[in-house]
């Protein structure tokens, strides 16, 4: 569905400064996949998406989207993809229903088909009562659902979502995701989304692509990334006098690393926490080390990012105020 090779985009800021927003990204997405592109602001997520949706042209490299080259055949790509950008697709002084019918006509439907289609989409996204409402009068969540409806007018096989839930409260985020996942099932759509919400990439996407400084630094399922790049962490509380003995035992666990003892707590990274914990407890008891408390911490994508870059995604996101380049 998508295939990019060494996709690159530079922005010339001034005569002396060029920003390399995307530096040679090669990525393949198969039909039906749901891929989250994760990274801090300015990592190159949005720039990549804007190249794939023909909004900007690559500086070098190639990208084939929905069967067509984005540089050679942008209009064919545009007919076949749905796009929900960071902003609101509907004009604020337009009426919700008018915008949907208009989009249908833009994509080549006759007015009758466009109206029928509008009715269906409004109902599916629970917007029917708001069809005659001006877009500026809709709430943030309603507007976002309208954006999704606009992206789906032509029943695309491939949908791009650029930070779809940014700015929504948790309830509206969940609601939006319900709709997106349902639409995906109905159309057997391929979805590519960018996000800097870790939990969103974690719970929604089957595949997570991590981008940093314009480069692709990891690409796998969220679980595999966490197991491979972060691993579970065990935290065991024992009497300080037993710490060294316990450290020794912990070191023998499968995939054990980062064994750290502080005060009365031992921390160790292992490949499979739930399996390793009983193993360690049994070993400790056999060696006569009583354990006071034990916990398994599952890793987050933030841990993955930290391991990949040495920086925390949350801190990076907080430190960058500007919009994604």
């Amino acid at each position: 569905m998508i295939s990019t090779r060494q996709l690159t985009r530079d922005f010339v800021v001034s005569r002396t400064e060029t920003v390399h927003a995307v530096r040679g990204i090669s990525l393949d997405v198969e039909p039906g996949e749901l891929v989250a592109v994760l990274g801090p602001n300015g990592a190159g997520k949005t720039t990549t998406l804007r190249m794939l949706t023909t909004l900007i042209t690559p500086t070098s490299g190639t990208a084939t989207v929905a069967g067509y080259d984005v540089t050679a055949d942008p209009s064919q790509v545009r007919r076949r993809i749905g796009y929900v950008g960071q902003g609101n697709g509907a004009g604020h002084n337009q009426r919700a229903g008018d915008e949907l019918v208009g989009q249908g006509v833009i994509y080549g439907l006759d007015r009758r088909a466009a109206k029928r289609r509008t009715g269906e989409l409004l109902e599916a996204l629970e917007l029917t009562e708001l069809a005659g409402r001006k877009v500026s009068e809709l709430s943030g969540g309603q507007r976002r659902r309208l954006d999704v409806a606009m992206g789906l007018v032509h029943a695309p096989k491939l949908l791009f979502l650029d930070e779809p839930s940014t700015g929504l409260d948790p309830q509206n985020r969940a609601n939006l995701w319900d709709h997106i996942l349902r639409m995906r099932e109905q159309y057997s759509m391929t979805i590519v989304l960018t996000t800097h919400y870790l939990d969103e990439a974690d719970s929604m996407a089957e595949r997570v692509v991590v981008v940093d400084h314009g480069e692709l630094i990891a690409d796998d399922t969220a679980n595999a990334l966490k197991a491979k790049l972060a691993g579970d962490r065990l935290a065991i509380t024992v009497a300080p006098s037993n710490l060294s003995k316990l450290s020794e035992l912990a070191g023998k666990l499968p995939g054990a690393r980062e064994v750290i003892a502080t005060g009365d707590e031992l921390s160790v990274r292992v490949a499979d926490g739930p399996a390793a914990l009983p193993e360690l407890i049994t070993a400790a008891q056999q060696s006569g080390v009583p354990i006071a408390a034990a916990q398994v911490h599952r890793p987050t994508l933030d841990d993955v990012f930290l391991n990949l870059t040495g920086r925390s995604l949350r801190e990076t996101a907080a430190a960058t105020n500007g919009k994604a380049a």
Binding site: G85, V105, L109, A113
Partner: protein, 271 residues
């Protein structure tokens, strides 16, 4: 829950139709732009009577301060001015609408659709002509019974000339909006900086004959002054005059330059 289906015919229409003509694209863009105007007749009506307000408040002052230099001809002189002014204000500010759609994301939405980039500009520029024609009809309809001598043929040619000029100016306004989209306050700074000198030097509101010589020279470089002179001739029924010819030259050059610059800007507007 409804099932969402696009019939195979409709689906084929969205994907496999031959490339649409530019004219159809322009028509789609224009229809979208006109929708909010048609949906809100009150604002339309309000916009329609604005030129009348100016006419009624400024016309008598003009007549008085010129100490009767116009005689009874003040309306014959001033009605074309009002029509040009309406065009000038309407089209030069229209870029602000696009600027707003840049900020909200609606313009980006249009850029990922199969609509051609040039239709996005031309459709928008053409749309401005619709309310303008409405305003012109109202102004003429109100003034004609009193003191305005309507020459229909000249008036029709005059409106056509204004439309050509207005499309060019609208295109420039959109080009400006695209150029300053990252510092949007610049739009009004530049627009106002151009608007007032161009307006005053055109002799639209007050005749330049009483001004100093350098102003008359400067007016020669103001394309709008040729348009104003042409409109006055046309609305007095003089269709085949040199003034009208120069008016057309100014309008066509403005439109050609405006559309060239505007379309080029539009092509780059996603970056």
């Amino acid at each position: 829950m409804t099932t969402l289906t696009l019939s195979p015919v409709d689906l084929a229409a969205t994907q496999d139709q031959p490339r649409r003509s530019l004219v159809r694209d322009i028509q789609i863009v224009m229809t979208r732009e006109l929708k909010p105007v048609l949906r809100d007749p009150f604002s339309l009506l309000f916009g329609m009577i604005q030129p009348l307000v100016f006419l009624v408040l400024f016309g008598p002052l003009l007549s008085g301060s010129m100490r009767g230099a116009f005689g009874d001809g003040v309306w014959q002189w001033f009605v074309p001015s009002i029509l040009v002014m309406t065009t000038l204000f309407g089209t030069s500010t229209t870029g602000a609408n696009l600027l707003f759609e840049f900020q909200t994301g609606a313009h980006e939405r249009m850029l990922v659709t199969p609509l051609s980039r040039s239709s996005l500009l031309i459709g928008r520029a053409l749309k401005e002509m619709v309310p303008l024609f409405g305003q012109a009809v109202i102004v003429i309809a109100v003034m004609t019974p009193f003191a305005f001598d309507l020459h229909l043929g000249g008036a029709v040619v005059g409106m056509a000339l204004l439309a050509v000029f207005g499309i060019g100016l609208g295109a420039f306004s959109y080009a400006l909006a695209i150029a300053v989209r990252k510092q949007d306050w610049m739009f009004w700074v530049v627009q106002q900086t151009f608007l007032f000198p161009v307006m005053i030097l055109s002799g639209m509101l007050l005749p330049l004959e009483t001004g100093p010589g350098w102003m008359k020279v400067a007016a020669k470089f103001d394309p709008l002054s040729y348009v104003v002179d042409a409109e006055r001739a046309l609305f007095s029924g003089d269709v085949l005059t040199t003034a009208v010819l120069w008016g057309w030259v100014a309008a066509i050059v403005t439109a050609a330059l405006g559309l060239t610059v505007g379309i080029r800007s539009m092509l780059r507007s996603a970056g």
